[in-house]
């Protein structure tokens, strides 16, 4: 009788775990396909900023930001219109992320998070810690091409993705 209990416990537990594992994989897969559809926009905009060095050489436009940026080459911002733009809302498994960017005189002058990962206390803590770092990086690099903040991968990716969509609207 005890053997039967032990065996059925093992099989039931394993069965439940496998089902959970499978369901988890399926959930992650659908999540990744969802994000991969949005990635093309990110790469194309990344490509356009990559071509910017040739643009600076022509020097058609005088931008105040050129002097302030140190490392990254700055886009000529030909089409950049001054104003405040809200990026698209990007959903993560820890909550939605939305960023608002302010363009002034053709340069990024302010980045504000409208929504940040907040499903639980830990997410809020991570958001509060990662958000200022990301904003700082964006202002200094004048682009959405900054590295993720360690320990805040989901938040960083969603943040930069939303930022990119806002920059696209501005024609930055």
């Amino acid at each position: 009788m005890r053997t039967r209990a032990v065996l059925s416990s093992i099989f039931a537990s394993l069965g439940v775990l496998v089902i959970g594992w499978q369901a988890g994989n399926a959930a992650v897969q659908s999540a990744t396909t969802a994000t991969s559809t949005t990635t093309p926009t990110t790469t194309t905009t990344g490509g356009s900023s990559g071509t910017s060095p040739s643009g600076t050489s022509t020097g058609s436009n005088t931008t105040t930001s050129t002097g302030t940026t140190t490392a990254a080459p700055v886009a000529p911002t030909t089409g950049a219109t001054d104003g405040t733009y809200a990026g698209s809302t990007v959903n993560t498994r820890f909550g939605p992320v939305q960023v608002q960017v302010t363009i002034s005189s053709g340069a990024i002058t302010d980045v504000t998070a409208l929504q940040l990962t907040n499903t639980d206390g830990r997410s809020v803590q991570i958001s509060n810690y990662a958000s200022p770092i990301l904003a700082q990086e964006v202002l200094s690099s004048q682009s959405a091409q900054v590295s993720n903040v360690g320990g805040a991968t989901y938040t960083s990716q969603a943040y930069l993705q939303s930022l990119q969509s806002a920059l696209d609207q501005a024609g930055f």
Binding site: A12, W21, V28, F94, G121, R122, G151
Partner: protein
């Protein structure tokens, strides 16, 4: 050893009136239920882990820090599941009691205690390491930001309480406490679970709306606290008020041993089986804070019941002098030291000292044909032959064979019997020739009982045919 053989004249008349019960089939059904419960216990732990994985828990485990964090969360969930299962086991749910018995439920509850605490501690440590790694702090420095999270201070206090509960329950430590002191600390486990709940909601996010995980955890919490509330609080109060039990009188039947006669109403509807016990509380200023698990020493009638107690501690000494009219509150009936637990056609019953009390009720209640039950009563001296006259009378009326043994434990041979019998070559097998076909019921002091039980096991008697009731808490 003296013998009382059953009167042969009863045989034909009684047998025809007995209902035929297939004990083995009955046991097989109960064993299936018990196995199902064991399976549910382990599967619930697995379900806690599986639900976490199902909502993408594994996808976080891609980095070292993420893996440690994820594992920490997983262990915390399994640990919480075990603690809730422990509450269910301690709730004295009638279905559980009928299936595995109060003893086994409590034994399982005890066995889960330490693993559950280790899982919770591992949960805390792994999350400190995991969070620390992702923010670049060492685990100790991470305690600060961790406490800054909402509800985390409460969770830390809850863990501390849990440690206190488990430590006071370690055998070596528990001996230093009175039952009441230990029980008071043990009640803190409710507080510990309650304190841990907020951080699961706010920090953990396992109860995010619209998930199966949420449904599972809410159901488990409701089951655990609901059964505690129902069966530990509401039902005893309702039974106490309904039956209105009071002390009818106290009689001393031997030095240090008293029978407490109780009266009440509709006692039959309690469905008490002979051999079961209640947890009694006598409402006098000196005794109300003590609760006593005591077996009935006779099957109750609709208006009367009786328990027989020996002065084993200060508490039981005080209740042996409660005045008539004292109000009594009850929890019960509990226990599988009954006819319902039988797995074989015959009965072999051994009782020592005041252990005779549930045996007296069991024999009265059990259904058996003449010759199918054999009883052995054991006492250290002639002063300790409590209720033996009553057992003799029942045995004679129902056709049970009765043996008695009086004397100190033997230094030779089977040491649970007196030296005289041991030297004569009496064995468990010679007293119970049909032992293999019998359920062995044992009741007496733990040290003595362990010896008889070991003897029975050595004879190859399977576990499920041994029913032991020990005097300890």
């Amino acid at each position: 050893m003296t013998t009382q053989a059953p009167a042969p004249t009863h045989q034909t008349t009684t047998r025809s009136r007995l209902p035929r019960i297939n004990r083995r089939a009955q046991f097989a059904r109960r064993a299936r239920r018990a196995d199902l419960l064991v399976t549910l216990l382990w599967a619930s732990g697995a379900a806690a882990a599986a639900l976490y994985l199902a909502y993408g828990g594994a996808s976080q485990m891609t980095t070292v820090a993420g893996f440690i964090t994820g594992l920490g969360i997983l262990l915390g969930l399994v640990g919480t599941d075990f603690i809730l299962v422990m509450l269910v086991l301690a709730a004295r749910i009638p279905l559980l009691d009928r299936t595995i018995g109060h003893d086994r439920a409590v034994a399982t509850h005890r066995r889960l205690g330490k693993p559950a605490l280790y899982l919770i501690l591992a949960h805390g440590v792994l999350l400190l390491i995991g969070y620390g790694m992702s923010t670049g702090f060492n685990p100790i420095a991470e305690i600060g930001p961790m406490l800054a999270l909402p509800d985390m201070p409460l969770a830390f206090i809850g863990t501390g309480l849990l440690i206190a509960v488990v430590v006071t329950s370690l055998v070596a430590v528990r001996r230093k406490f009175s039952y009441e002191g230990w029980h008071l600390v043990h009640l803190l486990s409710y507080v510990a679970v309650a304190f841990a709940l907020p951080h699961q909601l706010s920090v953990g996010g396992v109860l995010a709306e619209g998930t199966v995980q949420r449904v599972y955890w809410i159901a488990l919490y409701v089951l655990a606290f609901g059964s505690i509330l129902t069966f530990r609080f509401v039902e005893p109060i309702v039974a106490t008020l309904r039956h209105g039990i009071t002390v009818a009188g106290v009689t001393q039947i031997a030095p240090g041993v008293t029978s407490i006669h109780l009266k009440g109403s509709k006692l039959r509807s309690l469905g008490t089986a002979g051999g079961q016990f209640f947890i009694w509380r006598f409402w006098t200023p000196r005794t109300w804070w003590h609760s006593h698990p005591i077996s009935l020493s006779a099957v109750p009638t609709d208006t009367t019941a009786r328990i027989t107690v020996r002065d084993l501690g200060a508490g039981s000494r005080r209740i042996s002098s409660v005045p008539a009219g004292t109000r009594v509150s009850i929890e019960g009936p509990y226990g599988l030291f009954t006819d319902a637990a039988r797995t074989a056609p015959k009965m072999a019953i051994v009782a020592a000292g005041v252990g005779v009390t549930p045996v007296r009720a069991l024999l009265e209640h059990a259904i058996f044909a003449p010759g199918e039950a054999t009883v052995l009563l054991r006492a250290s001296s002639d002063d300790e032959t409590y209720l033996w006259d009553e057992v003799r009378a029942i045995a004679a009326a129902k056709g049970a064979r009765l043996y008695t043994m009086v004397g100190r434990r033997s230094p030779v041979g089977p040491s649970w019997m007196p030296e005289e019998d041991a030297r004569r070559g009496v064995t468990l097998r010679s007293i119970f020739p049909d032992l293999g076909d019998s359920d062995l019921y044992l009741c007496g002091p733990t040290t003595w009982l362990d010896l008889v039980e070991a003897d029975a096991r050595a004879l190859g008697l399977p576990e499920h045919q041994i029913h032991a009731e020990r005097f300890d808490w």
